[in-house]
């Protein structure tokens, strides 16, 4: 089972839901939680523990000056401006390179081969007996966030139960997170922004044909508009978390409500069961 927790809007509580689910499920089985928000990873804040770091590398062209005839084919091909032929020199901007290998492909002289450079890292830790935490982090100034997401997910490939904490928005990194998963939870809040971005996220998730449920977070009890949107989107609301000082207090010191309150432990456990049922699974 691979479950994504996504949202559209940022700051709705994706990580809160993912962290609580990971904690609850790890009490009864082996779980891998993956932080796919590689531009601002924060899932590890709930699970402090020593980690080891693996670099994420990406291909970048290396030009053999002896073979290069300065024909310009590579520079014309690259739509990202990462390789340019300028009179007497082939000039690289490695940070603009998307690692597609196109320049190597079009070079008639076979003068380009793959080199590699580091664009980010993935941290792995074991914060609890049955919980593995994998978190991607993109280096500053780099653009290839999806490559780091892909790498983090690959490290979790063998897991029988994986929870992916998605980045906010509906961009490339979210798409990368959604690939190959079995179900999705969309976390929203009862604000016009929350509803608007929930609709955007739902439209993206629909493209993947995923069984999807909604968690309403920081609910003030007046969720009419959100619930109406969910009905129209045909998405079941599987959980509502109230806007509550005590929950915020637990959260703010890096705690988990499911660890500190039996009621929330049961509710997150039920949330997972409902999510599985949605997809017709166990």
């Amino acid at each position: 089972m691979r479950l994504v927790v996504a949202s559209g809007k940022g700051g709705t509580g994706k990580t809160t839901v993912a962290a609580n689910l990971a904690h609850v499920l790890s009490r009864s089985r082996e779980v891998v939680a993956v932080d796919c928000d590689v531009e601002a990873p924060n899932l590890h804040l709930f699970f402090p523990s020593p980690s080891h770091e693996v670099p994420v590398r990406t291909p970048v062209p290396a030009v053999d000056r002896a073979r290069c005839t300065l024909c310009g084919e590579c520079g014309h091909f690259c739509r990202f401006g990462a390789i340019s032929v300028l009179r007497t020199e082939v000039f690289l901007f490695p940070e603009l390179c998307h690692g597609c290998g196109g320049c190597e492909y079009v070079c008639p002289e076979g003068a380009i081969r793959d080199d590699h450079r580091t664009i980010g890292s993935v941290r792995c830790s074991r914060p609890a007996p049955s919980l593995t935490l994998i978190g991607g982090a993109l280096d500053e100034g780099e653009v290839q966030a999806p490559a780091v997401v892909r790498y983090a997910k690959r490290l979790a490939a063998g897991a029988s139960l994986a929870i992916y904490d998605a980045p906010p928005g509906i961009g490339c990194t979210v798409i990368e997170t959604l690939k190959g998963v079995d179900a999705c939870l969309l976390v929203t809040e009862s604000t016009p922004f929350g509803v608007h971005d929930l609709e955007l996220a739902a439209a993206v998730v629909r493209q993947f044909g995923l069984p999807t449920g909604v968690v309403i977070n920081r609910s003030d009890g007046e969720d009419g508009e959100t619930r109406k949107a969910c009905r129209e989107l045909e998405l079941p609301v599987l959980m509502t978390i109230p806007f509550d000082r005590e929950i915020a207090t637990v959260q703010n010191r890096g705690g988990l409500i499911a660890r500190e309150h039996d009621g929330w432990h049961r509710r997150f456990s039920a949330l997972f069961d409902d999510t599985c049922r949605m997809g017709g699974g166990a």
Binding site: F80, A82, F91, F93
Partner: protein, 111 residues
């Protein structure tokens, strides 16, 4: 020598465009003969990485100098590698006026 001036439209009467790689037109002028060619910039609406590509384009066209308002860091570095000097021209003037200022040697070098 051929100088490239960034412009909002084709021709010497067009207004100078302050942005380099996102200029709608490049006007290439042979400084000796005064012969001018206006070329639409296919990169002007591109999503990113247009600076080095625009440098590659004007270098291949034969430009030996560039007159524009401003450019990004990638374009600056690519121009340096290509050994093409760039000169700053500010204000809402025509390409012809910018050319005159360039010829008089009054324009400061952009870096």
């Amino acid at each position: 020598m051929m100088v490239c001036i960034t412009a909002q439209a084709p021709g010497l009467d067009a207004t100078v465009e302050p942005r380099f790689a996102r200029a709608p037109f490049f006007i290439f002028i042979e400084t000796v003969t005064g012969e001018a060619h206006s070329v639409a910039n296919a990169l002007c609406g591109g999503p990113g990485g247009v600076g080095p590509r625009a440098v590659q384009f004007i270098v291949e066209y034969g430009a030996g100098a560039l007159v524009t308002g401003r450019m990004g860091e990638h374009a600056v570095r690519a121009l340096r590698v290509a050994a093409v000097p760039a000169y700053a021209f500010a204000g809402e003037s025509t390409v012809a006026e910018a050319l005159e200022a360039y010829r008089s040697g009054a324009l400061p070098e952009l870096s």
